[in-house]
């Protein structure tokens, strides 16, 4: 009974930390983009503008909760919730440190992939329920993009599974004590990262919302708190993809010896995640957006064969006993 209470407390604490972190990310991103674009970014609310997200949140809370009369009310309301919940659920299987982590699910990796697949419903339903052409185009793009890139994402991590012999994320991290998997799974990592960007709809893969083309894509009709949920979902999924990259390829909370004793494992884990998040932000400031058909053909013509080759070579090496 006490154990259950502790678990619940742990879950509450993780969620209570994750959401503010995602909100802070909005500020970090705007500040960093500002600096990289030779301007200041939000710097007025609190020291360095750090409370900007709080101010935004308050503003959004004060907005009228408006549902367009032409939309499907129920689905319109549920869609953003699905998105945020799916991403939050994925965090359940992430091992944050040797002792912190909601669940040691032995199919953790599959659970993550399943949740990533489910989150596409959020976008598709949002576009459909909005009953608006821009939203519909956006969600069509999102569906095609997510369905395609999921395939490579799944394939790209199979190399990791082959090498570690486990779907359990904690065991995958522990298997990297002798060396991070990035050494042997570099190609897999690149494919995972690209697919991850596509899953989180970030530039250069932001076609579902492509502001200059579709005004705001699938969330054109959304405002107020529901819009904030989409936003939250996006930043949570940036964090999630970063966390997964760290767990799968960069040893999770592990660090090689001289460094490991400097900081607690949880801090190392968070630092590594932050580096990835920064990479995501930098990417957004530097690249244009491909066209929809170019994006899909890039996926199927280059990513899929590469992911398969990566898997085959890894399997061959494994069979050949190179990895011991």
């Amino acid at each position: 009974m006490l154990e259950l209470l502790f678990k619940l407390l742990e879950i509450t604490v993780i969620i209570a930390l994750l959401i503010p972190i995602a909100a802070m990310l909005v500020w970090v991103e705007r500040r960093m983009i500002g600096i990289w674009q030779d301007r200041l970014g939000p710097n007025r609310v609190g020291p360095f503008g750090i409370l900007q997200s709080l101010a935004d949140l308050l503003k959004i809370l004060g907005k009228e909760d408006w549902i367009p009369p032409f939309s499907d009310r129920l689905v319109f309301t549920i869609a953003p919730v699905i998105g945020a919940v799916c991403v939050l659920m994925s965090f359940a299987v992430i091992p944050f440190s040797p002792s912190i982590g909601v669940s040691d699910l032995n199919i953790g990796l599959l659970f993550f992939l399943a949740m990533a697949s489910l989150s596409v419903y959020s976008v598709v339903l949002a576009g459909w329920a909005s009953n608006s052409k821009y939203a519909l185009l956006g969600s069509m793009r999102a569906a095609a993009q997510t369905v395609s890139y999921e395939v490579f994402m799944g394939l790209s991590v199979m190399g990791v599974v082959l090498l570690t012999g486990s779907f359990n994320l904690r065991e995958i991290v522990l298997a990297q004590e002798s060396g991070w998997l990035i050494q042997t799974q570099f190609l897999g990592f690149i494919i995972f990262l690209i697919a991850g960007i596509a899953e989180s709809h970030r530039l250069p893969f932001d076609l579902p919302e492509a502001e200059t083309e579709l005004t705001a894509g699938f969330h054109t009709e959304y405002s107020g708190l529901k819009f904030a949920l989409f936003f939250l979902g996006e930043y949570l999924s940036v964090t999630l993809i970063s966390a997964m990259s760290v767990v799968l390829f960069f040893g999770g909370w592990l660090m090689p010896e001289p460094f490991a004793s400097w900081l607690p494992p949880l801090v190392w884990f968070i630092l590594k995640i932050l580096i990835f998040v920064m990479f995501f932000i930098l990417l957004r400031t530097s690249l244009p957006r491909p066209r929809f058909d170019q994006l899909l053909s890039f996926g199927w013509k280059y990513m899929l064969p590469l992911a398969l080759i990566n898997l085959l070579v890894t399997a061959a090496f494994k069979l050949g006993g190179f990895y011991g």
Partner: protein, 616 residues
């Protein structure tokens, strides 16, 4: 990208030896020869050259003809003439009913056609008189495809009916508008009209008129012969959309994400600039010109003041000429930088626009030091410019001339060499030189197809013949080339500015002529004969002699021109503004068919239009 120096017109001056006294404005070829040529080809068409009463002071050969012959003559000029006229450059009308000084052969209305032959480097102006009770004339939109919009505009503004026009309806005014604004009988000011009200029934009617009916726009609702296949999707892009750069509406007929057809709908930015010209003094109209191509600043003043000066016979002093060229080229850079940034942004690259805005900011700082204003300085004056350059101007300009090329090199790597951007723009939205001429495309959009036609080279004006610069050309005419040409033009503009900097002549910045505005004040306190004209010219504005003139410049977006008619008054009798963007948008359906939505956005970005320039 190849740079072409046009040998036959280029005077290769060394940078440090500009002699504006040797500068000569370009002159049209002999009027007689074209008259003879036409009359031999079609003897039955009677052309009457204009007479001195009209006092057309530009040198464009101008003829009157009977309206029954217009179609035949146009056909001949385009299809049968050796070195034919290949562009319908402008088409407009004049309400002559209140004109005091007019020849007896001038009717109640005049339809004026302005054609251009690029091979001959010659223009021709054809005028047709129409009577008040018979405002009908044959449409020439079957010969000149781009006459379509021009004829619609004339119908909209004057109520002249073009027989055989495929779709004669309002273009600038809303469909529910009553009357034809450019008629002299139509009120020009709100105070001349009844107070505006919007009762519910009128509001309903207005809103009904905004509803989109594909059939009325000439589109089918379903694919397949009998509509048995799937429904098309109609997407209303604009008038409020992040990528239409202003208030511009395009209705897309789509099959999935592919565009089957599109109809551009303009007029949301119409402010009646031509009508205002008839109510403002020659001088006080200058600020209105700034806001035509609102990114072009003083570039807009340029053709207008040139036209007024031509009418008044004012010669601009050399210093004013060089100042004008320098500031106009600065605005070319300002406009192209904005284009560059927004183009990249339309493709999805978020950062370049911010870097380019910093460059624009620095240049606006210089403009501000010169003129006191930034985007709309209204700085040119009839006879010169408003003020002399400030002390230390050369250091400001020198610093900028040294600064910008380095930044452009960086953007080259960031934008033009980006593989994703190339994939999005190369071979997208391409058109040929022939199509460009057919649709009246001028400026960078024409040069991107590899057609070397830059007014500053072909028909030098305002002293440009003394400057050493090249005309950048593309070869494919696609989005990428249109951007590339503009980037290169910025470098050429810097070259021109540098030459201005090194060769700024001394002397007055405004002509000494009674009609320069404001007139010279120096001796007014000593001399009553100067004081009186000064007083009159400042209070009423100058009286410009009777006459008619068209002047054109190579503006930021293409060739922009003013066609002014003076009836010997303090105000213009008719102000016609020929803008490049109007023509460029008309060809949008041609280039966007078969594109994806994302391609259309890239194409729109690459055309570089300004809605105020389209709707006036």
């Amino acid at each position: 990208m190849r740079l072409l120096a046009l040998g036959d017109v280029m005077i290769a001056n060394a940078v440090d030896s500009i002699d504006l006294t040797a500068s000569k404005d370009w002159q049209q070829a002999n009027v007689i020869s074209i008259f003879d040529e036409i009359t031999t080809l079609v003897p039955e068409v009677k052309l009457t050259p204009v007479t001195a009463v009209e006092n057309i002071v530009d040198d464009i050969p101008s003829f009157w003809l009977d309206k029954s012959n217009i179609y035949k003559l146009m056909d001949t000029l385009k299809n049968n003439l050796s070195k034919p006229f290949d562009m319908c450059f402008d088409l407009s009308a004049i309400d002559e009913t209140e004109r005091q000084h007019k020849a007896d052969y001038v009717g109640d209305f005049t339809v004026s056609y302005h054609l251009r032959s690029h091979q001959r480097n010659q223009d021709i102006r054809l005028k047709v008189a129409l009577a008040r009770h018979d405002k009908n004339i044959d449409s020439i939109s079957r010969i000149w495809l781009n006459a379509n919009w021009y004829e619609r505009e004339v119908w909209d503004m004057f109520g002249i009916n073009f027989i055989g026009h495929p779709y004669l309806c309002r273009i600038l005014m809303p469909n529910t508008w009553q009357g034809h604004p450019l008629l002299k009988t139509h009120p020009a000011r709100a105070t001349e009209m009844a107070p505006f009200t919007l009762p519910p029934d009128v509001q309903d009617k207005e809103q009904q008129a905004l509803k989109f009916d594909p059939q009325a726009w000439g589109m089918k609702r379903q694919s397949g012969v009998n509509g048995e296949d799937n429904d098309f999707m109609f997407l209303n892009l604009g008038p409020n959309h992040p990528s239409v750069h202003g208030a511009f509406r395009i209705v897309l007929q789509m099959d999935g994400e592919e565009i089957v057809d599109c109809v551009p709908d303009i007029g949301y930015h119409h402010r009646g600039a031509e009508k205002m010209g008839e109510r403002q003094s020659w001088h006080s109209y200058i600020p209105y010109t700034d806001r035509i191509d609102y990114l072009g600043g003083v570039m807009n003043n340029f053709p207008y003041v040139m036209a007024v000066e031509k009418l008044a016979g004012i010669t601009v002093p050399d210093r004013a000429k060089v100042i004008r060229i320098m500031t106009a080229e600065m605005f070319r850079i300002l406009s192209h930088l904005l284009f560059y940034g927004t183009f990249a942004q339309d493709i999805g690259a978020l950062s370049p626009i911010f870097y380019m805005f910093i460059d624009r900011e620095k240049l606006f700082g210089i403009i501000e030091a010169f003129t006191g204003a930034r985007m709309h300085p209204s700085w040119f004056r009839i006879g010169g410019v408003a003020q002399d350059l400030p002390q230390g101007w050369d250091k400001l300009v020198r610093d900028y001339v040294d600064y910008l090329p380095k930044r452009l090199d960086e953007y080259e790597k960031m934008v033009m060499q980006n593989a994703l951007l190339k994939r999005r723009t190369v071979d997208i939205g391409a058109y040929s030189s022939k199509e460009a001429l057919e649709w009246g495309v001028t400026g960078p959009g024409l040069r991107a197809t590899g057609y070397a036609w830059d007014l500053r080279k072909q028909r030098p004006y305002g002293g440009y013949d003394q400057f050493d610069f090249e005309v950048p050309l593309g070869h494919k005419g696609d989005c990428y080339d249109r951007c590339k040409v503009r980037v290169e033009e910025m470098r050429q503009s810097i070259r021109i500015i540098e030459q201005c900097l090194n060769n700024m002549p001394a002397g007055p910045y405004k002509a000494e002529h009674p009609q320069t505005t404001p007139p010279d004040k120096a001796r007014t306190m000593q001399d009553i004969d100067t004081l009186i004209p000064h007083f009159v010219n400042v209070t009423w504005g100058p009286v410009i002699p009777v006459g008619e003139v068209s002047m054109f410049v190579e503006a930021t977006k293409g060739i922009m021109g003013y066609h002014l008619i003076s009836d010997g008054s303090t105000m213009s009798y008719r102000t016609r503004i020929r803008t490049p963007s109007f023509a460029h948008l008309q060809m949008l359906p041609l280039i966007s068919k078969g594109q994806m939505v994302a391609d259309l956005i890239a194409t729109l970005g690459s055309i570089d239009y300004v809605m105020a320039d389209v709707d006036r």
